[in-house]
Amino acid sequence: FQKNQPAQGRAFEPLVEVKAMEPDSSVWGKNFPNQYDGLQKTATNNIDTTYGGSSAFSWLERDPRQKILFAGYPFSKDYNDDRGHANALEDVRATKRLNLNDEDPKHTPATCYSCKSSNNPGLWTDMGMAAYDAMTFNEMTPNINNAIGCANCHEAETMRLIATNPALIEGLEAQGKDWTTFSRQEMRTVVCANCHVEYYFAGPDKYLTFPWAKGTQIDQIISYYNEIGFKDWEYPDAGTPMLKAQHPEYEFFTAGSTHYNAGVSCADCHMPYVSDGAAKYSSHDVHSPLINPEQACGQCHTDVEYVVRRVNTIQDQVANTKIATEDAIIDAINAIKAAAANPNSDAALLDQARQLHREAQYMWDFLSAENSTGFHNPEYALKICADATNLARQAQMLAAQAANDPSLLKTGTYYAPAQ
C-alpha cells in the first residue's frame, strides 16, 4: 500500500512474529537484538558535551535569563535538557510543568504523551487521535506503559520506516506532501519528524497540530500563528500574547542547511552504522554525535578532529550571539511592562510593541529550543539572532514611544541591580 516501499523480504528469517504496532520493544528485540540493545542503552547515557549531551541538566539554572523569558508559563518552573529515548516516559511524568488537577481548565492533556510512548500508534489506530487528545493526562496514564520504542518508527511486518504520528501525516498533507512517496533517505529524516518538530494544541480539545500549512520556515510559521491568532500564554504585566517554540530540529535542519542540502539525514549523524563482528547495523543508541564522532562524522569526513573543532567554533558563536538577543528581549519586556503600567500610554503603539516582542521572542526560542546550539544550520541560527535582536530593540522603542517616555530606553536591564 505504501507507494515508496514495495513489499520486500528481509535478508533473514525472523525468529518471532511481531504483531502490528506491538508496543513492547523487547518482543521486536528477539529478532533484532543489536537494535534493541542500543535502544536500552539510551536509558543510562549520561555523558555531557559542552552545550548538550545526555544528562538532564537544567536550562533555567544554566541560563537564568530563560526564567525571565518564560515568566508566567510552566517552562519557567522546570526546563531540562533532553535525555535518551528510553527515558521519555519517566521524564514527562516527572516534569513540574504538568498540571495534574483535572478540575483546572489548564490541566495537562493526554496530548503530552504523544511523543513519549510506543503505545501511541496502537491507541491512535484504535481510538483516533481526536479522542486521545481530548482525554486528560491522568486519564491516559493507565494506557501508557512503554517509553519510545520500535513501534514509533517501524512497521512491524516490513521493518520500514514510517510516519506513525497522525499530526505529522496531516502536517505534511497541509503542504501537499504525501510521505508514502518519500525515498528511504528522506524517511531517515522524516521519521524523526514524528516528534522533533514544533507543535501546538489546536482548539479546546487540544488536538496535536504542526503549524506547517504555510511552510516550515520560521517566517511562514510565525505568519501561520498570527493568522489564526494563536497564543500559548500572556506575558505577565506586559500583556504580550506569547508563543513557545518546541524542539524544531526538523524545521531548522531542513531550512537549507549545508548538510540537508547535501542529502544528509538525521540518522546519518545520530544513528551511524556500527559493526558487531561481521554484522553492520544502525546504532539505536541515539545521542549527541560529539560523543562518537569517529562513527558519526568519520563516515563522510576524513578529518574528524577538524569537524569537531568546527562544531565548537559554530556553537560558541551561536551561544554568544543568542545571549545578546536574550538581553535585548529582556530590555523590551521591561519597557513594555512599564508602558503597560502607564495609563497614558498610546494603546495602538503599545500593541505594536507587543507584536514585535511576540515575534522576536518566538524567533529566539525557535533557535534556542532547537537542540544543536545552531550546528544543524549555523547561518540560519545567526540570521535568526540578527532578526530577533532587531525586532526586540524596535519593540522597546515602540514601548517608549507609547508611553512617550525615553527613560524606558535603558539597555542592559538584565544586569541592573533589582530595585
Binding site: P6, R184, M187, Q299
Partner: protein, 164 residues
C-alpha cells in the same frame, strides 16, 4: 649433542608451530602478494577497498603502488613486512581503532608515490625555493578512496525504495 639441543629443538618447533598457527589464523601470507583483494582479505580494509574500487585510480594503481615505498626494492619489502606485521598484530589482538587513519610515515610514502607517477605534471608547482608542504590529497580529496574516503556505509540508496 649438547644438553641444550633438545630444549632448543623443542623451543624452535614450538615457535614454528605457534608462527604457523598465527600465519594460518591471520592469513598473514596474504601480505606477500600485491593484489588489492589481498588487502581486502582483512574485513577492516573492506571500506578502503570498496571505495578505492569505485574511485578513479582503480584502473591505474593497486594498494601497494601508493602505500609502499618505491625508491628501491629493499625499502619496499622492508616496509611491506613492517606494516604487514603491525596490521596483523593489531587485528589479531583486537585493538583495531574505530577510525583507521594513515599515520605520518604512511602519508610520506603515499605523497612520494603520487609524485613518482605524476612527476611531469607537478614539476612546475612543486619546484621552487620553498618546500611543497601539502599533501596532494588536501585538494584531490577523492582520487584514492573516492568521495566517501573510509566510510563504512554507502549513501542510503533511494532506489531501493523506488517512488511509486
Amino acid at each position: 649433542m649438547n644438553k641444550l639441543t633438545i630444549p632448543i629443538l623443542i623451543a624452535v618447533a614450538a615457535f614454528a608451530l605457534a608462527m604457523g598457527a598465527f600465519v594460518w589464523a591471520t592469513d598473514a601470507v596474504a601480505y606477500a602478494g600485491t593484489h588489492p583483494e589481498t588487502c581486502n582479505n582483512c574485513h577492516v580494509m573492506h571500506p578502503m577497498y570498496e571505495n578505492y574500487y569505485h574511485a578513479s585510480h582503480e584502473k591505474w594503481a593497486e594498494c601497494a603502488d601508493c602505500h609502499l615505498p618505491h625508491e628501491n626494492i629493499f625499502a619496499y619489502y622492508f616496509e611491506k613486512g613492517r606494516q604487514g606485521m603491525h596490521d596483523v598484530y593489531v587485528f589479531t589482538t583486537g585493538q583495531t581503532p574505530a577510525l583507521i587513519r594513515a599515520n605520518e610515515r604512511s602519508q610520506e610514502i603515499i605523497q612520494s608515490n603520487c609524485v613518482r607517477c605524476h612527476e611531469q605534471t607537478v614539476e612546475s608547482i612543486t619546484m621552487g625555493a620553498q618546500a611543497f608542504d601539502r599533501n596532494c590529497w588536501d585538494c584531490h580529496r577523492d582520487v584514492a578512496h573516492g568521495e566517501r574516503g573510509i566510510s563504512t556505509s554507502s549513501y542510503q540508496d533511494s532506489s531501493l525504495y523506488p517512488v511509486k
